[in-house]
Symmetry: D2
């Protein structure tokens, strides 16, 4: 049974991802993991931080001589901005450090800020947003890159594309080949396989940007080459659709599946 | 930590539901559990079997003197039609029983029949559909009734209503009071709080029935009185929305959340 | 992944055992399950109840035509003495039933009575001992019989014998064949492969019986034909010795492994 | 629910420990964690490596301003000897690196070497012993130090002592105060509360050392201030003794509990 854990605060020293239960002998390429991290940081309308980060994975266990060895895979992704946060988010309290904090006292709507501060009894939502941050998904992307390497051994491939942003929707059917070709590109705009539709999507994002608003969207993930019979109908928690639904909805900002 | 299991084939002796991890002292009423089972069997356009079943829960453990005692709650729901299936689905093989089987060799689209038969290597999908059947949800309803009794202790209440069937959609906002009032009714048509909309929904069902088709829908579940901070943003699998997504999507015939 | 649950009170309607995660196609014999239940009820120095019980398993799901079908296996073991307890342990309170209770207000040393009553806040330990009872092991024995059927498919066999009771210890080495032969006997005294040692063990039990005391012992379980590499050294909770230790120590009255 | 994971090879870059499910607000001292790591490295008869290592924990997430913040606690313990192993255990294969490996082709009796090599299909047991190594317990000690900080909030304290080495056994009863005083010492010999007995234990270790043998022992762990009712009798896997048994037996070299 595969299981994974992530740890790390958005402005902390690093993110840590751990994947347990892999068999030995799966070929792992650090370049491939880093390419997935690069892909996560692309896309139209991303914030400025994305541009400076250039995440880089360090695999510190579980992979030797470019193959898994059966033991847990741990991956560290350092925060390049940590030196600017050592005083605001120190592990240990230092004398006089109280005034270096960067408190967040206006919870942002739609985020975990308020519910988290109530649950964990914080006067300041800083600790909540540090962990509820979308940056945590970098750890998942690194884990996902390793998991894809396992799937590849069985001829299974995964790719995704965007089918809707705001009111603009991709209206035509797509093929696996189109989505795979999209993934292979070196430039990522909005992740739509259709150039015209993507331009309309871009306009929607531009408009939201101008008005200081945000805009939702829909993406589709395609698993190619999956054998029939993964998952099981026999128990509620073995059903593949339910497990996928949890995994997808647990991603920050995802609201439906 | 609460956890539950269900067992039982659609035409087998009985369904069994087990709920583990309850505290002691939660008041449980067998009538309430059975009322929830009755509600499951209502609704417009249900098949004939629903009308003859009248499911009835037997709590065989975990509840004494009308209260939970901390040990696992096991509930048995007998199949009133079992006597007609003893030869088709016997636990043990009997001489000459081979010709009493009721094989299913035309897998139904959209069901687990084909994928399950491939996975478990059956020439006959009978064993698959016996378990993948919507009848399994009766066990979940019984467990859910006990779980609701726990929530009630904390002032939390759950109710649901239908907001769309086919192209007909409830266009106006609803209040908790409306949904709670809907639940209190002794007659269930299509579970919509708005009488006019419900009539239109009924027409859509009638039309599908005439043409031998089926029709999808959307329902909304409201949890009332939930304190802020249930679930947690700290790990992917503690997020409440992800857990709810899995639970809902794991229900037979649910395709999105 | 196999997992199991048990439910049921010692004097309740029945015990329920559920085993989830089995593959399809494992041959299951009800006689074999019942033979294991019979073995549990044998042995020197057992209480009177053991003699009247003659436990009998009803498999109500997961097995059809003498083979598993992949869905959860649920087994019901009825309590033949239930009619004498319906008023003391009713599921629902009845008017005037208060005086039919059989309260236990003197917690027995070495049992869960006191700790359980404190934890679950009961003035009466009845509910605790009903669940902490050794009778619960009947459900585990039934589950174990099904699990052994799975192991048998892989040529793995399990048997056990007693190597010490009180101060009397089996001093010589034993072979798998001796232990397997012991298991095949139709009469069970104290489960020791050596007749002389068993007689001495019997004397120790007789002596304890005379003085109203109890006496401990040591048994050995042998798994025969196990391939190298079950379990894994890679994580603390995949280690086979740790998992076996938990399983064995979780048996009522077992104090070490 | 608390859960933990460890990762890391004995001669790899570092060990990583992750503890998930802690509440916020638990005071954590890095000095205390490091003191526990120091204690692990003391004791009579330890190998030379223990003397050069001086493990040091870096908490990289989950603790800020000396308190837990609810998110997973990740701890990194660097391997001070890693620079000597970069060519023998590289994450990625480099040209010509094949001859820098340090293969282990004589599996050591009583270790995971042989079973692991069979399970994971390695011609070389190096990858097995790197993970099955006792060094992994350093990660558990760090996690344990954080877990103890949580217990301390509830007035629960944990300490241990050695009661037997080889044929030498502590024959007198001990008090909690003696064991707590033993823990407070700045020098650790063999962890026995009785000075005379400890000297005899030392002789047994010396003798084993002279003859190139090893010698087993028995230690006792005392949890002080534990409220009645932790764990539960209601299910096999909630029983505290079973959970403790698994945790203890999963420690490398522990053979019984």
């Amino acid at each position: 049974m595969l299981r994974f854990e992530t740890a790390g605060e958005s402005h902390g020293e690093c993110l840590v991802a751990m994947l347990t239960g892999l068999p030995a002998g799966v070929p792992i390429s650090l370049d491939t993991v880093n390419h997935e991290l690069w892909r996560r940081q692309q896309g139209y309308g991303r914030g400025g931080r994305m541009k400076i980060e250039h995440d880089c994975a360090e695999i510190v266990s579980g992979v030797r001589h470019s193959h898994t060895i059966g033991s847990p895979v741990a991956i560290v992704i350092r925060n390049r901005d940590w030196q600017n946060w050592t005083e605001a988010l120190p592990v240990e309290d230092a004398a006089g450090a109280e005034d270096k904090r960067k408190p967040v006292t206006r919870p942002r709507p739609g985020h975990a800020d308020l519910a988290g501060a109530i649950k964990y009894d914080f006067a300041d939502a800083r600790y909540i947003l540090e962990r509820a941050s979308a940056r945590e998904t970098a750890a998942r992307v690194a884990i996902g890159a390793v998991a894809k390497a396992l799937l590849n051994v069985f001829g299974i491939d995964i790719a995704s594309h965007v089918i809707r942003i705001g009111r603009v929707r991709l209206e035509r059917p797509v093929t696996w080949e189109e989505v795979a070709a999209l993934r292979a590109r070196n430039e990522i705009l909005l992740g739509c396989v259709d150039a015209d539709t993507e331009l309309h999507m871009k306009e929607v994002v531009d408009e939201a940007y101008r008005t200081g608003d945000t805009v939702g969207g829909v993406f589709e993930v395609i698993a190619h080459g999956v054998p029939a019979g993964l998952g099981s109908h026999t128990t509620w928690d073995a059903r593949l659709d339910g497990r996928l639904a949890q995994a997808v909805v647990s991603i920050q900002a995802v609201k439906g599946v």
